[in-house]
């Protein structure tokens, strides 16, 4: 059963993600609140971030092999998120900036200036992606995030052969780079 769920998550199935979230939510919240003193809202925040991190790990093939099913893996991620939160003395809810918590947080954080610049560049990238639209956005997401092969792109997007799919993917990337350049200029002028 977990194999089916993992396969669905790897394919970006949002309904499966919602079902996974609902399935273990109550049990996780009860577990972590019994273990550590915290409010229901904090426990829920941790669980939401843990679910997002699990999704990202599964898609990227980073799910540790020592876990043979989703539940213990999800719960261990949740406990790690809690420990990281305590270590960083978090005072605001994690859910106010969930994407920052997707990757494991190391002991040291990046220098502030560099982190800010990266953040601005990623914001410019986000705007460029929004302007790109489909099918380019879906195609590039399948390739660069879900690690679909050119052959899979050919099948999923209905191209005649791999060369056409590869060429289309190249053109989409070029289009996105052009949009990014425009956004970078806007960012510099702002």
């Amino acid at each position: 059963m977990d194999e089916t769920l993992i396969a669905s998550l790897k394919n970006g199935d949002m309904q499966a993600l919602g079902e996974l979230y609902s399935k273990y939510r109550q049990e996780f919240i009860a577990m972590i609140r019994a273990k550590y003193k915290m409010s229901n809202d904090d426990a829920m925040d941790i669980y939401q971030v843990a679910t997002l991190r699990l999704y990202n790990n599964v898609v990227k093939g980073k799910m540790t092999m020592m876990y043979d099913s989703i539940k213990p893996y999800l719960f261990s991620i949740g406990l790690n998120v809690y420990k990281e939160m305590v270590r960083e003395d978090m005072k605001i809810p994690l859910s106010s900036n969930p994407l920052e918590w997707v990757d494991d947080r190391g002991e040291g954080q990046e220098a502030t200036d560099e982190a800010l610049l990266k953040e601005r560049l990623l914001e410019a990238t986000k705007k460029a992606i929004e302007k790109l639209g489909d099918p380019c956005q879906s195609m590039l997401t399948r390739f660069y995030y879900f690690r679909a092969s050119i052959r899979q792109l050919m099948e999923e997007f209905g191209y005649k052969n791999e060369a056409t799919a590869k060429n289309k993917k190249y053109k989409c990337l070029q289009q996105l780079r052009e949009l990014l350049q425009k956004e970078k200029i806007q960012m510099a002028l702002a």
Binding site: G18, S22, M44, S96, I129, Y144
Partner: protein, 246 residues
């Protein structure tokens, strides 16, 4: 040439290069400014695509949360009859009153009143620490701010001004109408959307069915509740309860 370089970068990012190929690639990155720029672009675009996908996943998690009725205890404390007895008596009276009310009326509109609650904003979260300036906000952001403030008249006005609205915008436009007691307009938006929606499909079905209840279109509502009752979604149990009451 650039196409070949992109293929090389893709292989590097996927870890497909051999040790010697990887070393040669790193040397070229140091020596060739154009390649280095191209590499940076692809890396940022990859990260940006990842973020866009994770934002979608975050919305799915928030939507799942919004569909859950929380039964978890929220606090400890010692039990005291002195405190609880009057409260329990009040609750009992309320339950009896509600029971009489339900016995008297399981009319569609009563069911609507029992089950309707405004769907939370999970489409464009407004962060508490947001430092966004008013002039950098999009129409959609502004509409959701009005929606969060329950200023549905203004939210409707802004949602309707959005050119080429996506399904999220249409869902919340309908929701603003329904929250404003304009069920006919909500149903007019959601009826075609219920066929096409992907991300908000079950939410559209649920609220469209509630809108039909409000409009006394019991048969139309039943068809949707019957589908939701077997859907395996967060609305399954509530749909069954409504069907039973109808």
């Amino acid at each position: 040439m650039e196409e070949q370089d992109i293929a090389l970068i893709d292989r590097y990012l996927s870890g497909e290069l051999s040790e010697s190929e990887e070393e040669a690639f790193r040397q070229r990155l140091k020596a060739e400014k154009d390649l280095s720029q191209l590499f940076e672009d692809v890396r940022y675009l990859q990260k940006g695509l990842e973020r866009a996908e994770l934002e979608k996943a975050w919305k799915a998690i928030q939507a799942a949360e919004a569909g859950i009725v929380d039964t978890a205890p929220t606090g400890g404390g010692t039990f005291s009859w002195k405190v609880w007895l009057p409260a329990a008596a009040s609750v009992a009276l309320l339950v009896i009153a509600a029971w009489f009310f339900l016995l008297r009326s399981t009319e569609p509109q009563a069911l609507y009143a029992e089950y309707f609650e405004v769907y939370p904003n999970v489409e464009a979260p407004i962060y508490r620490d947001s430092s966004a300036q008013a002039d950098s906000l999009t129409a959609k952001d502004l509409a959701f701010r009005r929606y969060a403030d329950e200023d549905f008249d203004m939210a409707i006005e802004i949602f309707e001004s959005i050119q080429k609205p996506d399904e999220g915008t249409l869902f919340y436009l309908g929701m603003s109408y329904l929250a404003n007691d304009e069920a006919t307009k909500a149903a007019a938006i959601w009826e075609p959307l219920s066929e096409e929606a992907v991300d908000y499909k079950t939410q559209v079905q649920w609220y469209l069915a509630l809108a039909w209840l409000k409009l006394d279109k019991e048969e139309k509502a039943k068809v949707i509740f019957e589908e939701l009752a077997e859907s395996g979604t967060a609305y399954e149990e509530r749909s069954r309860a409504i069907l039973k009451a109808l």
